[in-house]
Symmetry: C2
């Protein structure tokens, strides 16, 4: 390995001269610096980033808190991480997974000890308190899909997205519009329910949803079971508005298994626009979260904080748009 | 922040005494060491891992080379990374994504500069040369699904897995067994083709596969197109043996779109056992890669190398087993 000492020896100068030249100190003459830089390049010198980061107090590393059920197999959160990763790496930073070994985890200590400059909290499971300490620290931090209204958040405009989903179903002639709810315990889940209830109220319709059961995973199984529950409580709806593509496909399969045709008998709209929308039969019409924009804007906000030194940004709220495929249809007998 | 200087001041000893005690040097008496350790704990001292790693020459960080089409949205490779991640983090290591900004990437320099001790190469795109340098370095390294036979590889026994898939279809009475091929340019893809061809030969059957088109992505689209090509070249087969679940679902949809029923008219078997097998209609029978075992054994091998100091291990070859769902059926008119 080429070291500063070897370069110094080669040129007959001191190691501190070489070090100062490589680190851009002004007390070294341009002539000496250029001689040192050229030789360093020629010899294939690699600056040791760990040593450099001690001097510069940064490690070009962005930490990620990713406490997600099914981990990277979770299609939605892994898509968000992917979009973020591409942007961050494109700007020359590395991504470090902060370990999530359960509740004893101290993220702030971990970030300090690994010289992590900036953190994206993609999802939080049991370590709410540990994440709260991160938020209150002086690290640059952004939080995706916050579980409460906090500083430095980025999320899809869920309230208006669900209203748009409902309006799409309404405009197709459906009036008995059921809602497959998500979590009742976090901000995003409650925003989506509020969007549904406000739309129903504005149009003077009856609400059809399960009040006493919160869905925390947005999974296929939760969609299947909630559709069963809805069907057994209210009978067949005209249309189903959902909060995730996986839940929508779960509901779709429940209805198909009970002899109903989607979209001839019931329309279903998903939420997220994951790649599986093209794999389901029928292909799933959905409310697309702009995951590319979320990844890019989270990255931009973090790097701006690092460069400019501020630590607070206004909430970044991203619009959702409908993607029409084959699971929704005009109500036939209307 | 609690520093070594503060601890030293508090106890009236030199900073170098504190540093030596915290780093376990033997020249410090047990009494002094215990006094220093207790106070450090009490004051909430966090060792700076970057500084420590300079001393200990390790950073408790495992690098991952992950050059994958669709990135973390690739259902198969993200499952492998997830299994590896859980094991590695469970053993106290962090995962660092090594950037993949194209062909100019120098992974070895990157690992040295970030004090990465060990690397899992999950997939390599264009940076074959850069990965080759990693393999030839003295880093602890494991390579998943190698593109050629190399040292320190871990992979599913693809040759026998495909033979087992074919035998399953054969035992259901199918004789016109088509093969949806993967890559012809890498080791794993060629092993799978060899498994198919050897089985066909042993049973004295006719081979049905596309000789002149290599599939590099194992994607839904490749499955759809290759099924079209197979169908237009050879007509309807009894059964289709595939090299990925996504390709199998692509083939399934091609056949359904052309009026054929799976499994009544054609049986299809997937490969991988991804979560989407339960989402397709019908649910997909598949050859399951034991991704949990792959993640665990790759992790164990790397940590053994770090602890024991060796850098070469025998290939780790993991068995595959069939998971029966609804896409295969006994040949009716046999």
């Amino acid at each position: 390995m080429v070291t500063i000492a070897k370069i110094a020896q080669e040129l007959g100068v001191s190691t501190s001269t070489v070090s100062k030249a490589l680190n851009g100190y002004s007390e070294i003459s341009e002539k000496t610096r250029s001689k040192i830089m050229n030789l360093a390049t020629e010899m294939g010198y690699t600056p040791n980033a760990t040593a450099q980061s001690l001097v510069r107090k940064r490690a070009d590393t962005v930490g990620v808190v990713y406490e997600v059920e099914y981990g990277l197999k979770n299609l939605f959160f892994s898509s968000v991480l992917e979009a973020f990763r591409r942007n961050v790496q494109g700007r020359g930073y590395d991504i470090l997974f902060l370990s999530d070994n359960g509740t004893s985890q101290n993220y702030l200590k971990h970030c300090i000890s690994k010289n992590v400059d900036a953190v994206l909290v993609i999802s939080t499971g049991t370590s709410v308190e540990s994440v709260r300490k991160l938020i209150n620290s002086d690290l640059a931090l952004m939080m995706f899909d916050p579980w409460y209204q906090s500083k430095n958040t980025i999320y899809t405009d869920s309230y208006n997205a669900i209203k748009k989903s409902c309006k799409y179903l309404y405009d197709l002639g459906h009036r008995k519009i059921a809602f497959l709810n998500g979590s009742y315990s976090n901000f995003i889940g409650r925003e989506r329910l509020k969007g549904y209830l406000d739309f129903i109220k504005e149009k003077n319709l009856e609400p059809y949803y399960i009040k006493n059961h919160s869905n925390e995973s947005y999974s296929y199984d939760e969609g299947y079971k909630t559709m069963k529950n809805l069907f057994e409580t209210y009978g067949l709806p005209d249309a189903v508005c959902t909060v995730s593509d996986l839940m929508a496909i779960g509901a779709l399969h429940y209805l198909q298994n009970h002899g109903y045709h989607v979209p001839d008998d019931v329309s279903i709209i998903g939420f997220d626009d994951l790649s599986i929308c093209d794999i389901s039969t029928p292909k799933l019409t959905t409310m697309k979260q702009d995951i590319e924009a979320i990844g890019k804007q989270a990255c931009d906000a973090l790097i701006d904080m690092l460069v400019q030194g501020h630590r607070t940004v206004k909430p970044i709220i991203v619009d959702a748009t409908i993607v029409v495929r084959d699971s929704c249809k005009k109500k036939s007998n209307h």
